[in-house]
Amino acid sequence: MATWQPDPSFYPSPRMAAKAPRENLAYVAAFDPERKKPDAIAVVDVNPNSPSYSQIVGQVDMPNVGDELHHFGWNACSSCLCPNAPHPHVERRYLVVPGLRSSRLHIIDTRPDPRNPKIVKIIEPEEVAEKAGYSRLHTTHCGPEGIYVNALGDAKGNRPGGIFLLDHTSFDVLGQWEMDRGPQELAYDFWWHLGHDTMVTSEWGTPDTFENGLVPEVLLGSKYGRKLHFWDLHKRKHLQEIDFGEEHQLVFELRPAHDPTKAYGFVGCVISLKDLSSSIWTWYRDGDKWAVKKIIEIPAEPADPELLPPVLQGFKAVAPLVTDIDLSMDDKYLYVSCWGTGDMIQYDVSDPFEPKETGRVRIGGIVSRTSHPAAKNGALNGGPQMVEISRDGKRVYFTNSLYGAIDTQFYPEGIDGWMVKLKVSKKGGIKFDKKFFVEWPKGHRPHQVRLEGGDCSSDSYCYP
């Protein structure tokens, strides 16, 4: 329903959004790797003054099994205030929740009771395939033309993957986004620079190369994704691709600067075939083209092969496996999840080409199995993965599962889910909130976290 005033969670600029009230609830995607019981969106109490702080206080189960809930997003956000395509009177109230494996889309209403969300619409995979020509739905963003959802496969699960649009009130599938995809075939993440009319997309691989786990031959042959693609956001036309080169595999999470006047962003590359290192790259405007520069390299750590899973034994080292990154609202701090070694690293990226490490904590990890003050069972498995930052930048939340079939390749005994929270010091530096540790219920693993009212990877802005 249209409202008389804009949704109170919409902010014209990231500066204003950083002053938003703190979140009381987090929504977390949880999936069953055995695909025997339904996946769910869990509601976690993140209000430290609440008696149920750090507990799951609500849950909405999916109607089917085997969806593999992964990423999700809001139906509407601050980009609704953009001057060129204003929709200020839409409510931020629905979560758009795709199944990565099932290609099914769930629309979940978080009102009237945000602790007790309800599924209000389901779009079956056949409808997505017919109207948009895609499958394996991955990431969603609210934006100028409605809800953008990307997919890793075409209707039959082959290449190309791409993006399609949903109406942000009726949730009708409107169709494929690309009008001219140029050479782009692989998909992983996407986001944009609203101030520069530019879409950026990254690459993983086709469903047959990840649905049963990473395929060593594909990886060692440098056949997974290694490119960034830049598009005209409004002409929906491919403009430029940048190849990171044979050494680099799996170019994943894209975090453009929130300030719409800035033309740069950060992307993580999971693994180097040369030395198993992970890297962070800055993309930036260079004249009338886009360019990239590697700004951070996180090395692999030598390890006793006895302690390593079969995929890493031959290398006698644990790879950092940077699989998620997130940028604070003021574009100052970049958080980097090292799912392999167990580190969560905070960098000051005020100068996007001269990052400075300002904080680091370790939890879980393939070899280290580092515990948490509030963990009952001691050695934790899994490592820092999907990371989300509060709008004011004072709190950071993360979970520990990557993707069902890949979890077991690196953590062969499986992953016991957990979710933790960091406190961020004013001058940089991070430490665990000793009272916040969600021991995830057995049978589910947690993935992406979304914060009530918006967070640092949910909203984009048109005004500086």
Partner: protein, 208 residues
């Protein structure tokens, strides 16, 4: 009195269109903020006003041409139906348009954007109840001709555009210089609902 009122209505509707952030003042402010330049705010108003005026002029031209060949009463009924239809379309599908122009818009892009926004919102058709009596006023002494309607039609478009431009410029200036954008969070009331109602009312006026 009856001579002056249609002009006042045209100017009033110009002001109403100018107030709507979706008609341009907000875009002008945003571009000024992006490029850190007050001049950009004012320069942006030119293509915004021109795009709006072209959209209005097309509707006025259509009305005048139809007026030469069709009975005025029929035009009023048809115009009323179009207005109410437009209101329904605006309410149901108004949010679904393709976005063709973004923050890198130049002069031409901004003009095109303004033209498309005004057209899609039915800014021109909203004026039809005023345009018909004004531009299709044949008197016994003077027969209705296209040439005869030209000056009054141009004046109608001009008055509307001047009023729209003035309000757009004043709001853009005040917001850019003093208020800032934070007020949008609470102050951006739902102009679209009022707009839809205005289209329906204009349609009813024509038919009744």
């Amino acid at each position: 009195m009856s001579d002056i009122s249609p002009w006042l209505v045209l100017a009033g509707l110009g002001a109403f269109h100018g107030i709507n952030p979706a008609m341009g003042w907000l875009f002008a402010v945003a571009l000024g903020l992006h490029r850190g330049n007050r001049r950009i705010v004012f320069l942006s108003l030119i293509p915004i006003a021109l795009g709006h005026a072209v959209s209005i002029a097309i509707v006025v031209t259509l009305v005048v041409i139809l007026g030469l060949v069709i009975d005025r009463h029929l035009i009023e009924i048809a115009g009323g139906a179009v207005l109410i239809g437009w209101a329904v379309y605006h309410a149901v599908y108004g949010h679904r348009h393709r976005v063709r122009v973004g923050m890198q818009a130049g002069f031409a892009g901004l003009g095109l954007w303004s033209f498309m926004m005004a057209t899609a919102h039915g800014a021109g058709v909203m004026l039809v109840p005023v345009i018909i009596p004004l531009c299709l006023a044949a008197s016994p002494a003077k027969e209705l001709t296209a040439a005869g309607s030209l000056p009054v039609s141009l004046a109608a478009v001009g008055v509307h555009m001047a009023s729209m431009l003035a309000i757009t410029g004043i709001i853009a200036f005040i917001v850019y210089e003093w208020i800032g954008l934070a007020f949008l969070r609470r102050g951006w009331f739902n102009v679209d609902l009022i707009w839809t109602a205005a289209l329906v009312i204009a349609g009813i006026i024509l038919i009744v």
